[in-house]
């Protein structure tokens, strides 16, 4: 074995190790949601193979839940696909904000990385990328660990119903708790706090008046724009 290949083996092991270290809270949170999705999908008439195919090709929790409930209600494929598109538009923002960290990556790797961008992997990877302790290989490990957990839990749910009773050990709160900590990582200064407060308040207000989840995109874009405006205003009026 040459020195170069030893180093690259070591790097791969290191990337897997650190990637899994970052991914486990996501995986923990995905298990109950994936099981629940499998149960619902099976009730809506999907078999485990179809559930597996959907989790592999779509890999987006909220739109999969919505699709299944629309299927149960007898909606058309076109209506479900259109709704899925609307629900997942928020990924435009997440991928945009991840793009600045992968400028040196190959197109193939970027195409693979894009597949795994979820609310959760975005937040975990962005936090580490912005501390300069991360690279695309580690980010890919995070994405695919979450992906495999999601696919496996939805299939198990589809076969067997719930192994874990609803609400056991507070596992339903895993992702919320993770988001609380990831939000704190993002509060890197006063302007970030102000932006987050504006976004949160707008999101709550909008979520009460408009159906669906478009409040996430609208509130985030408005808040970031206002945040930028505040920064400009402060720099002109010191």
């Amino acid at each position: 074995m040459t020195i170069a290949s030893k180093t690259s083996n070591y790097n791969i092991k290191n990337a897997i190790h650190q990637g899994l270290g970052a991914a486990w809270p996501i995986c923990l949170g995905y298990v109950p949601i994936g099981l629940a999705f499998g149960v619902l999908a099976q009730k809506a008439g999907m078999n485990p193979l179809e559930i597996a195919l959907m989790s592999i090709l779509v890999f987006a929790g909220s739109s999969q839940f919505i699709a299944v409930s629309m299927l149960s209600a007898g909606a058309s494929a076109a209506a479900i696909i259109l709704t899925t598109f609307a629900v997942n538009l928020r990924h435009l923002l997440m991928s945009s904000s991840l793009a600045v960290f992968v400028t040196k990556a190959t197109r193939k790797k970027i195409a693979l990385f894009a597949y795994g961008v979820t609310d959760e992997s975005f937040a975990v990877n962005h936090a580490r990328f912005s501390k300069n302790t991360w690279d695309l290989d580690r980010a890919l490990v995070v994405n695919h660990a979450a992906n495999i957990t999601w696919i496996a839990s939805t299939i198990i749910g589809g076969f067997s119903g719930r192994f874990i009773p609803a609400g056991a050990f507070g596992i339903d709160y895993a992702l919320i708790a993770m988001f609380i900590c990831l939000l704190i990582f993002q509060l890197k200064g006063r302007l970030y706090v102000i932006t987050a407060v504006i976004a949160g308040a707008l999101a709550v207000a909008l979520s009460l008046v408009i159906p669906g989840n478009s409040y996430i995109v609208i509130a985030s874009m408005l808040a970031a724009t206002l945040g930028l405006g505040i920064r400009k205003w402060v720099s002109v009026h010191p």
Binding site: S96, V204, L228
Partner: protein, 107 residues
Amino acid sequence: MVQPEYLLLIVGMGLVTYLPRWVPLFLLSRRELPAWFVEWLDLIPAAILSALLLPELVTTGVPRHMALWQPELLAAVPTFIFALKTRSLGGTVVVGMLLFWLTGKVL
């Protein structure tokens, strides 16, 4: 066997999910972005995490209505303080789950 109408649905959903994930990464990683846009993108994670999180804590139901006295919010306050003090992601997840579970027992 995969029923043909499900196959069509799943492939369609897969496409409209993948495109918003891939297009910005593909287009924006290959060019120099204006400074204001980079600053704007830098604020997006704080905004989007807050926009995802807060409605889950203070609203419930379909259609959504305000609900402050619920375990989601009551457990979030000490979880937030724990995260702020320790800055440990794994620890926060475990402590948050425990607090949520306990709050559910008490309420």
